[in-house]
């Protein structure tokens, strides 16, 4: 008796597409015939296990749901193309690199008190120049010359780089006090 057919060939035999050699073997081998009978019995069980048909009204509702989702996807704003946001990202990186060396000169701020309200707006508009307390502080510090002696400089990073350590610490304290509404 020749060797037993492999699994793939048994499937073909069950489907009636087997080669003559395989069929001859199966005719003589009760074990293989039994396997083929089992395959067919399993298939018969599967054939009887149909899927419950949904109610007729389900299908129009299904199509409407698909159409609605496609419409929502079409209305959703697309992500900006990378060529739009990459330059902004690059600019932010340059600014961060310019400021980063000076951050080490400032003493670490004290831990901020817990806010009374949990709500923090995600974005607030910039204040009008007349309402910008930060500018007032800068202007006062620069004009009085009391606390700071700003060196001659052309840009912000150059000014910051030129500040003595005590003045840099003092500037940081002045900013924090102003923003928190307290005294120096």
């Amino acid at each position: 008796m020749s060797g037993h057919p492999p699994a793939e060939e048994l499937i073909d035999i069950a489907a009636g597409h087997a080669a003559a050699d395989a069929l001859r073997h199966v005719a003589e081998c009760s074990a293989c015939r039994e396997q083929i009978d089992d395959l067919r019995a399993s298939l018969e069980s599967l054939r009887e296990a149909d899927v419950p048909e949904p109610p007729p009204l389900y299908w129009p509702a299904f199509r409407r749901q698909v159409a609605r989702r496609l419409e929502e996807d079409a209305r959703r704003p697309r992500r900006r193309a990378s060529w739009l946001w990459l330059p902004a990202l690059a600019g932010a990186a340059v600014l961060a690199l310019a400021v980063a060396p000076h951050l080490g000169r400032l003493p670490p701020p004290p831990p901020a008190p817990a806010p009374a309200e949990a709500f923090v707006p995600a974005w607030t508009p910039l204040p009008e120049p007349a309402d910008d307390t930060g500018l007032a502080v800068l202007s006062a510090l620069a004009s009085t010359g009391g606390m700071l002696s700003l060196p001659e400089c052309e840009g912000l990073d150059e000014c910051l780089a030129g500040l003595p350590e005590d003045d840099a610490r003092g500037l940081a304290q002045a900013f924090r006090a102003e923003l928190q509404g307290g005294d120096l």
Binding site: E9, I11, A15, Q35, E44, R47, E48, L70
Partner: protein, 209 residues
């Protein structure tokens, strides 16, 4: 040897009341329209394949809610990818591949097991006890199918219920014809075990290659 072949043991194409098949030429035109961005044309394709895709998904997860969600997701993905459909395969083969991937990716939500959808129309021609026995047997078979390993489950569903060729199933699952046949063999053997009928003593063919 019996004369029952795999083809004759396969279920006949489901006779769906009220379904008007979309001719092939119309299907090609609908696909081209979708590729031009005409979203409404996609509805014709959904109507043509909604039952097949739903039934494929249902056999995979064995409940209506999940099958409905996955089937919708499959069509959404198909529309988004239709620009890449080149006609190298039948549209149905391409769509089934998307549906199978959606099934494979599906992670059932944490919800209580849903009752199976009851039959829409009662079968008055069959005695009630016989119907109960038949329905219970069908429920056990469907449940057993969902416990099969993923690839065996997908192979069995595509071969037995969608009457696809080995080659088409191989394309959908990204495998070979030999693998499809082997997976089908092992799926049927596993099914027999899980339904409580022990298979005969393994022959050299069934035990390995």
């Amino acid at each position: 040897m019996g004369s029952t072949t795999l083809a004759s043991a396969l279920p006949p194409a489901p006779a769906v009341a009220g379904r008007e098949p979309v001719p092939r030429a119309d299907e090609r035109e609908a696909i081209r329209a979708c590729q031009r961005g005409e979203r409404e044309a996609f509805d014709r394709l959904v109507e043509r394949y909604q039952r097949d895709v739903y039934r494929l998904c249902y056999r995979y997860v064995n409940n209506h809610e999940d099958a409905s969600d996955i089937a919708q997701e499959a069509f959404i993905r198909a529309y988004k990818a239709i620009g890449r459909f080149r006609g190298d395969s039948a549209f149905s083969t391409w769509l089934y591949r998307i549906a199978v991937n959606a099934c494979l990716n599906f992670r059932a939500a944490r919800r209580p097991p849903a009752d199976e959808l009851p039959e829409a129309l009662p079968d008055h021609g069959t005695p009630a006890l016989e119907r109960l026995v038949r329905d219970e047997r069908a429920r056990r078979v469907r449940q057993a199918v969902t416990t099969l390993p993923e690839r065996q489950r997908a192979t069995l569903i595509l071969k037995v219920y969608h009457d696809l060729s080995h080659d088409e199933v191989a394309r959908i699952l990204g495998s070979t014809v030999g693998t499809v046949k082997a997976n089908l063999f092992h799926a049927l053997a596993n099914l027999r075990k899980r339904l409580g009928t022990a298979p005969p003593a393994a022959s050299a063919a069934g035990a390995g290659k």
